[in-house]
């Protein structure tokens, strides 16, 4: 790790002008700095900014301060009750130690686990070294994307929380050099295209202040279903965030997003459409699962995720539906 300066911010307004790299919990950035993959010359710690770590209801919205810790939101009783998909996406990520460190805003920006990216200069990687090529395309792609990949990059977006937020149509409040703006979480991450090094639409110095989630009838019957190589403390092989609005066994509205299989949080309206207006049983849930993976382009070692993901979506739909029966 090369040298850098470290400063603590006292207010959000002071952040955009500094030119420094923002660090929050540091669980991604410091990790990648230790691997010499991130090499910022200056760090600005934003976790010292007061007032951005709350979790509250405001009208029909659940508002998360960007500096709230993952563990706070994962166990917030109202979040658990009114929108379990959000809480579960956090509780099933990382470990409690890391959830105590990582922030809700920073978590959205975690970077891929692609080993060719993380292992440094021995391996070509367009995301780490633009123009060097993508070793994963013809390589060990068991953990790589079936959806949203390009000729330049098939690295998976590894997060869980963003997948749940995309399913829930969440919005970000940002503060940047050009002032404040709002952005759908669904619009935060870019497809890799021919510039996989550009992962989000955030401008340099732009900071996430808040995450707003509309919570209506569709929050309660929701779940985050995550299939991993071990029972805990692992990234998703495939995950499904599902939220349903049901009435007497019929799906009024469905939201489905996928994790672990796409280059960014992946909403699947095709699968949602399968369910909408129809009486739910497992066969229909499976049909939605198949629709979710209809566009999948498997590589050499990840084809099993089409079947696995289809079943995981179907299971998630059934779990969410069961929750709609709860009082």
């Amino acid at each position: 790790m090369q040298r850098f300066t470290y400063t603590q911010a006292r207010s959000a307004e002071a952040v955009p002008g500094t030119g420094a790299r923002i660090i929050a919990g540091g669980t991604t950035l410091y990790d990648l700095m230790k691997l010499d993959i991130e090499t910022p010359a200056a760090l600005l710690d934003v976790t010292t900014i007061p007032g951005l770590d709350g979790i509250a209801f405001a009208g029909d919205e659940l508002v998360f301060g960007a500096l709230a810790r993952m563990s706070d939101a994962a166990e917030h009783p109202e979040v658990l009750r009114r929108c379990p998909v959000l809480a579960e996406s956090l509780a099933k990520a990382a470990s409690q130690q890391l959830r105590n460190m990582a922030t809700l805003g920073g978590n959205l920006l975690q970077r891929t686990r692609c080993p060719y990216f993380r292992n440094g200069a021995h391996y070509p990687c367009n995301k780490r070294a633009p123009g060097s090529g993508c070793a994963a395309l013809e390589g060990l792609d068991r953990g790589h994307a079936l959806l949203g990949g390009s000729e330049a990059c098939i690295a998976v977006y590894p997060g869980d929380w963003a997948v749940a937020l995309v399913a829930m149509d969440a919005t970000l409040d940002l503060l940047g050099p050009r002032g404040a703006r709002s952005l759908k979480v669904a619009a935060l991450h870019r497809l890799p295209g021919d510039a996989p090094q550009q992962e989000t639409v955030l401008e340099p110095g732009e900071m996430i202040l808040r995450i707003r989630v509309p919570v209506g009838p569709i929050g309660r019957a929701s779940t985050y279903h995550k299939i991993r190589d071990r029972e805990s403390y692992a990234f998703a092989l495939v995950s499904a965030a599902v939220a349903l609005d049901m009435e007497q066994g019929v799906v009024r509205e469905a939201r489905i997003a996928l994790g672990g299989v796409a280059t960014r949080p992946w909403r699947v309206p095709e699968a949602e459409a399968v369910l909408a207006g129809r009486r739910l049983d497992r066969a229909l849930a499976l049909e939605a699962g198949r629709a979710a993976f209809a566009a999948a382009r498997p590589g050499r070692h990840n084809g099993f995720k089409v079947v696995l993901g289809t079943e995981a979506v179907a299971d998630a739909v059934m779990i969410a539906a069961e929750r709609s029966q709860r009082p």
Binding site: M1, P115, N119, E138, D229, E231, S232, V307, L308
Partner: protein
Amino acid sequence: MSENTFPDRARVDARDKVRGATRYAADTPLPRLAHAMTVPSPIVRGRLTAIETGAARDMPGVLAVLTWRDFAGVASAGYLLGGGRAFQSHQPMLSDRLVHRGEPVALVVAETLETATAAAALVRATCEAEPFAAALGETGEEVTPPQQSYNVGDAEAAWTAAATRVDAAYSHPAQFQNPMELIATVAEWRDGVLSIHEGSQNAGAVKFGLAAALGLDPAQVRVDSAHLGGAFGQKNSMQLQTVLVARAAMLLGRPVKLVMPRAQLFHTASFRPASRHRVRLGADAQGRMVAAVYEADMQNSRADTLRPTFSEITSRLYDIPNYRSAERLVRTDVQSPGYMRAPFEHPAAFAFESAVDELAHATGQDPLAFRLAHEATRDPVTGRPFSSRLLADCLRQGADRFGWARRTPQPGSMRDENGMLVGWGVASGAYKAAMSPAIARLRVRANGTTRLSVSGHEMGQGMRNAILATLMAHLSIDPARVDIRVGDTEAVPQHLTAGSWGTASAIPVVRQAALEVRQRLAELRGSRQMRGDLHQMLARLRRPHIEVEVRGHAPGQPDAVFGRLQNGLPAAGGPEYPDFVSFSFAAHFVEVRVEPTTRRIRVPRVVSTIDCGRVVSPRTADSQVRGAVVWGIGAALREAAEIDPRFGGVLNNDLAEYVVPVNADIGSIDVGFIDRPDLLLNQAGVKGLGEVAMVGVAAAIGNAIFHATGRRLRELPMRMEHMV
């Protein structure tokens, strides 16, 4: 004071361990300690043509950047299995030759770890790369001719003539030990003495290996390995960084510490090599197993030869009249593979015990009854008796504890209350009961203290507990004031502690030392009646202490083995002894639940019953078995090194991507011991435990998955992609 059953006793070093007070190598406090970091080779195989170190040297706080040119006159310590003392013959940084991914090409030493790490990243190596094959099955691998290992009867003919035949191929990936303690060396050169603090299972090899490499008199080298943070075979000899750090400390005149980063350890330390196995089994018309042919290939490095002994146990698990086995080495461009818990026995048992299950199924027999029906009474290979063999007891007692009788035979026939597919599987395991030469020195003092020094290392298996239990069984001494010295070359000569021979080697000499102390006391006491404990008696006799030294070795070994012990060379004997053969045995019963939709596999329940002779330390023995079962679960369902053949390195070189079991992976583990002493093997009746307890677990899991789903998985790890 009895040897018939040993009392439950808390782990003797647990109080320090729960307070974080136990000092592992990297915890050694030394003034003026400098920090080192390695620079890994950027290629797999070739030649270092240039190395640019200027930027690193210019960094403030950097003390030295050493390259191969700084190691003139230093020699390789040699390969452990070739008369040397290192885990491989290739010692990096002695020349410009590069033979495996990640080997160090430079060592940076600096005032701080941060500076050393940053400077290491600035060193640029230029190399001439050569073609390579770094994994099994790749172009460029070199396969040696098969070498026959066991041949009983005429297995090929018997198999060809068999009424029911199984012919199946199994594969096992490369796996890494990943002890929690990173491999670390702290070296200090002072007054002509080189002091090394390194967690090693073989302090003696480190001592003599360093002396040989650096041209020192062995008396100048002291190695302290009092506590290891796990080892599992990876720390069984001199590591490749040890001499680099020692040399740096000598050149700088300051103590130097190097803690190898986890990612580098996947390329700089030994591992369980990949292997492929073909098992052919045949049964006659009555369903009796009559033929077994077992052929296997195992990955090796180019330079060193690690001979697989897969068939050492599979040739003896059953009474099969015709058995033949042969192995081939597959030479690849990797660091030399070595020993990882049950190094050959676990892969062999996975293959063989899966095949046995397949044959039992093919002949319509219950897999437990099938195994019991083929129980051997004499060693099928040598015709000699087993010193003890209680495998049938393990199987029967384990089956009772598990409730095997409630199993329905048809695959897919059992479900739980949540609709999960339930599978019950069984497999047997065996592991050689070996012994090494060992020396114990016991001093009991009138002041209430006792010191016991012995050849052996404490890696967490509980050797100190077994030693204390043995002392307490024979001596009335104060257990709170016993100083047990293991892993210390300055106490007594140190032999490699591995192969499950640690306890079986140390305990007999400790026991004998205790008996000799009693004898000496009796002589001193004469006919006088005395009360009180041993310390008090010594005080009354006005003797400051009694000291005895005892040495021992495996049955039938010549005294020349002590010469090897005193020179840091391996000298274990077994399992074939002049009058008998000796093995420990295990029976594992596993319940799996398979989610019918995603095919996720879970292991909620394992029952393991072990014949390891006398159980000297019940509490730590129990923990050993639990740990071994966790290892079996990890090896069966989780762990594989992922190697991209184009690049030759391990891609999943960290603990996030090389998935070892976590707490949530582990359910109930019920442990049973037969606990009958093997008095032919040694007077303490002790056989090995740490490895046999893992042997067969993976097969039992695979057999349970077959029972749950009807799907036979022959490739480890058994993962989701094999199930859908």
